[in-house]
């Protein structure tokens, strides 16, 4: 009898990895909380969609990724960018529309990208990312790198044809693709319980012949483990997985949203479910990390975000020259 080999244990997070994960989550939180404040001053142009509350998802998934791997993101993309290693100062400068930004001030919050890091961009089109990830996964498969593609998308995008087509194609082509449905409960102001006709986004996986699982999005370790399994499976040729991550976003759809459609779930989540709070409690209770180390990270992150904002505000804005450059490689 040849026993089925279990996937290797994925919770082998050492101290360094735990601290890194915490740093990433804290950086995202600090980045977003600061933007929340700065946006209110009117200095930040355009739309800003904050990821606060959802940090565990991007962090835990991206903790398994390396330079072979690529991700596609959403309009709520700051967290994915930070977790995939995009430079935080350049991100902040981009959001301020500065020439020192990740996209030289031409993209803004919704289009931060760093292709050199496999970050295919936040995406202003709901459902824009999943087809792209079929492509990056196809490239990895074709090139034999063992790389995977991860599409982050929301409950809203789970209703887009592009997403459903991509799920089907990924399964038909048996691609190393992971579809992470970040269900934060609302597509803009419309509840997922209303707009998603089935009960769970993960249920849709059955229709595409792939595993669909649900994980608690506030629990870093839960997401980490599920993503680890899915990614390892994909790397080994096992095909795509749909992971539904359930949680709540802490702020509105965009900054300025009065959120009159919501009840008190944010206060409850912040108080009892918050991913950073949970993470701190658990790693300190078990003695894996001490409070001082975590506080040290908090301090460093605060300093980084402070510097990022200060530098962004000082940075030059693009000029007329920048208007017509970067449209084509050659034309």
């Amino acid at each position: 009898m040849t026993p089925t080999q279990p996937a290797k244990a994925t919770s082998g997070l050492d101290q360094k990895a735990l601290l890194e994960a915490y740093r990433t989550m804290r950086t995202i939180r600090e980045f977003e909380e600061r933007l929340h404040l700065e946006f209110a001053t009117g200095e930040i142009p355009g739309f800003v969609h904050l990821y606060a509350g959802e940090e565990a998802s991007a962090t835990a998934v991206c903790a398994h990724l390396d330079e072979r791997d690529s991700i596609a993101s959403t309009h709520r993309g700051h967290g994915h960018c930070i977790a995939k290693g995009v430079d935080v100062k350049e991100m902040m400068a981009e959001i301020y529309g500065r020439v020192t930004g990740s996209c030289r001030g031409k993209g803004g919050s919704m289009h931060i990208a760093d292709l050199s890091k496999g970050m295919l961009g936040a995406n202003g089109i709901v459902g824009g990312g999943p087809p792209l990830i079929c492509g990056t996964a196809l490239a990895a498969k074709h090139q034999g790198t063992g790389g995977v593609g991860v599409a982050f998308f929301g409950d809203g995008a789970s209703n887009q044809g592009t997403t459903l087509e991509a799920l089907n194609l990924a399964s038909v082509w048996n691609l190393p693709a992971i579809f992470v449905a970040e269900n934060n409960g609302y597509a803009e102001a419309t509840a997922a319980t209303w707009s998603v006709a089935c009960d769970n986004i993960a249920d849709r996986a059955v229709g595409f012949g792939m595993p669909g699982v649900i994980v608690d999005g506030f629990d870093f370790f839960a997401v980490y483990e599920a993503a680890g399994e899915a990614i390892e499976r994909a790397r080994e040729g096992g095909g795509p997985t749909l992971i539904e991550v359930k949680f709540t976003r802490y702020y509105g759809h965009f900054e300025g949203d009065q959120q009159t459609y919501r009840a008190d779930e944010v206060a409850r989540a912040r108080a009892s479910l918050d991913c950073l709070k949970q993470f701190r409690e658990r790693v300190t209770a078990s003695g894996r990390l001490d409070t001082a180390a975590l506080d040290g990270v908090d301090g460093e992150v605060a300093g980084l975000i402070e510097a990022a904002v200060a530098e962004a505000k000082q940075a030059p804005v693009p000029t007329a020259h920048d208007l017509t450059t970067d449209v084509y490689v050659t034309y």
Partner: protein, 337 residues
């Protein structure tokens, strides 16, 4: 050396030679191999009109059949292009752009600019366009103006087998997203095509015929219609210069303007509908940049502002023909203030 092959063979040969030259070139589309998962041959079709026939056997694993999911596979081609592949996706009919346009114009076309010049997306979307096969309103359109409108895309309209091969190889090697539009009525057109690989640069119009009396700018399949008209006009001692822009984006403005500077008359022939199309665009260009040289109002010969009809007599009326082109030329010649 050059030998005579069809437009279809020229496209196939370009794909084959580029796939041989560069392992990162892959092609995908509905039935591009044809027959995936079916009980018969895996490469039963080689594309709905046989354009990709034979590539599957030669390049196993690099010719991908797709589900009928244009958004997914066109998007996949775009995504793969950002990660080192040079995919050629076949959007079977240009009319189907409606079910995948976002991946082309909001994703592929925008990456470079939106990401501050740091993205390279060498994807080619091959697509079939044009009337003439009684395929009616949803399989016959000339929608390249819609692509031309989008900054970040390059749009190619090969008018002959020679152009088809050289422009497709250029498209595959090009580092920007390219929409490569093949006229379905040209697939059986034959012409001399070198066996060796070659590239025709984008943004360089071909002066198909020299002439001093009138400039005819013709697009895609209309180039051969214009040539027939010019041959007819030559018997009446009217020498038309025919310009095939080859690419609508980039557009070779200089060649058009230089010609009009010389002839003083312009007729634009385009199978597309007239509003916001290439004919209007080229006319505006000449009106703006070469107004002083014009000796007569510009004439546009286009399809009417209607969907493409089905019935044969209607479709024949719909497509610009030699007579309409010749009439337009005469109108510019006869014009008196």
């Amino acid at each position: 050396m050059a030998r005579t092959i069809s437009y279809r063979e020229a496209v196939n040969e370009a794909l084959r030679q580029e796939m041989e030259r560069d392992g990162s070139v892959i092609i995908m589309g509905e039935d591009n191999a044809g027959g995936a998962g079916s009980p018969g041959e895996d490469d039963a079709w080689g594309g709905v009109l046989g354009v990709t026939k034979g590539l599957q056997q030669r390049f196993p694993g690099r010719v991908l059949d797709t589900p009928i999911s244009e958004s997914a596979f066109v998007g996949a081609a775009v995504g793969a292009a950002t990660r080192g592949l040079r995919p050629v996706a076949e959007l079977m009919f240009i009319d189907f752009m409606g079910v995948c346009f976002d991946q082309i114009f909001n994703q592929a076309a925008k990456f470079r600019y939106m990401f501050g010049g740091k993205a390279v997306t060498p994807v080619v979307v091959r697509t079939m366009y044009g009337a003439g096969l009684n395929a009616a309103a949803q399989h016959s359109q000339c929608l390249y103006p819609l692509f031309t409108h989008i900054p970040g895309l390059k749009v190619v309209l090969p008018s002959s087998p020679y152009e088809a091969k050289g422009l497709l190889i250029q498209a595959i090697r090009d580092n920007d997203p390219v929409i490569f539009c093949e006229h379905k009525a040209l697939y059986d057109m034959t012409g001399e095509v070198p066996e060796d690989s070659y590239t025709i640069p984008f943004g360089e119009a071909d002066v198909v015929r020299d002439g001093d009396d009138v400039t005819i700018v013709a697009l895609g399949r209309m180039v051969s219609v214009a040539e027939e008209a010019a041959a007819e006009l030559a018997r009446q001692d009217v020498q038309a210069e025919i310009i095939d822009p080859r690419t609508t984006s980039p557009l070779d403005r200089d060649t058009i303007l230089e010609s009009v500077e010389n002839t003083g008359r312009l007729v634009v022939v385009d199978e597309a509908t007239p509003r916001c199309g290439m004919a209007a665009d080229i006319s505006a260009l000449v009106a703006q940049e070469a107004f002083g040289a014009l000796r007569a109002p510009i004439e546009m010969v286009t399809a009417p502002h209607t969907p493409v009809p089905f019935a044969q007599p209607l479709e024949q009326l719909y497509i610009p023909d030699t007579q309409k082109v010749a009439n337009a030329v005469k109108k510019t010649l006869d014009w008196k203030k």
